[in-house]
Symmetry: C2
Subunit: 226 residues, 2 copies
Amino acid sequence: MAEAPLTPEERAVRRVAVGELGDALRDLVDAAVRTEVDDAQLAAAAVAARELAGRLRARRRELHEIARVDDPETGERWYSPVYGPGSPVAPPLVASDTPDGTATGRVTVGKPHEGPPGLVHGGVVATLLDHVLARALRAAGRGGLTATLTVTYRRPVHLGVPLLLTAEMGETVGRRTTAHARLVAEDSPEVVLAEAEGLFVALRAEQAADVFSATGRSVGAWTTRS
Amino acid sequence: MAEAPLTPEERAVRRVAVGELGDALRDLVDAAVRTEVDDAQLAAAAVAARELAGRLRARRRELHEIARVDDPETGERWYSPVYGPGSPVAPPLVASDTPDGTATGRVTVGKPHEGPPGLVHGGVVATLLDHVLARALRAAGRGGLTATLTVTYRRPVHLGVPLLLTAEMGETVGRRTTAHARLVAEDSPEVVLAEAEGLFVALRAEQAADVFSATGRSVGAWTTRS
């Protein structure tokens, strides 16, 4: 399907509705990974979930289509698996940034993203760090794809604890930019739980046109602002 | 709540039911992040999701409790966010391993785990690689927590493409073990899309008892088999 674009007013209204469904589905995901209801009730829930999925599929985007609520030029993605208000799989991170190349994120990770018992999955830690790194660069007009990501895990990161992530841009050479990020518990900000170094490479305009050709849209957020 | 443990037969039956609900919820998650139904239908879906969550919460585990379908001694987690059959947030990876310290994973990543438009999120790539690294070590009796993870992204990884991950254990020094992993598209196995080096550190028995104390269970999968 190719939907007509939304007006700014329609998009603002729809973003609220998408966020509310995302919130409800995150609640459902949490309930599902913690349930101990009996097997027959699990089966009944599966039927209900399939029915609901069918209703949502009445109008759906193809795999490479960009959501009408999104803005591919700024890179704000309403269904991001990290921070998307509409994403059932996002923890979700609540992030902000500044034009001089810093980013901050806050999140309390729950049972759906558990690795070892009671701890946040190491891959989820890497994902959260990757996002604030990329966001810091993009805020400074240095959008790019991750080229290398090095995560150092210093201490176990527990579920259910308010976490704070901070990132700042490092050096820029041509299309390559580095950044550093760290993760702490909000109530023990002096103890680093994990940190990351990232190297990001901006796509040239013609590369972006190639990589994102299937979307049929202009996608500017992963190139460098000139 | 503290549920009575399941018999092996009950656990086998329940694992099937958990997997079927997980499958239905992954279908719902995919439908939700691709839907373009109108705002009123989004609101109706949110109500239905909340109702379903309430039913599943009738009996639920606390944040640090281990699911009755799980085996914390082998580390098999039915709700893993990476490979868990019951996890609505897992891509899910289908993984296997060998006792000499190798692991393989297969997955086709869909819209819920999108980063840049049409591409797999870089954090999801890191998560998949982290899992096969850890799994290779654990299969060889070298379970541990990730200490460092370095991911090199060589080419964009597209949604909807069957992917193959392979990992093998490297060197072991005391409680520290390294491993290497790579990610390719199944139909172009000679082109490396991403690769990773990991360093894992096994917990000492007393550390494991401390880190996992909140679970109230013996958790052996992140220590080294003697």
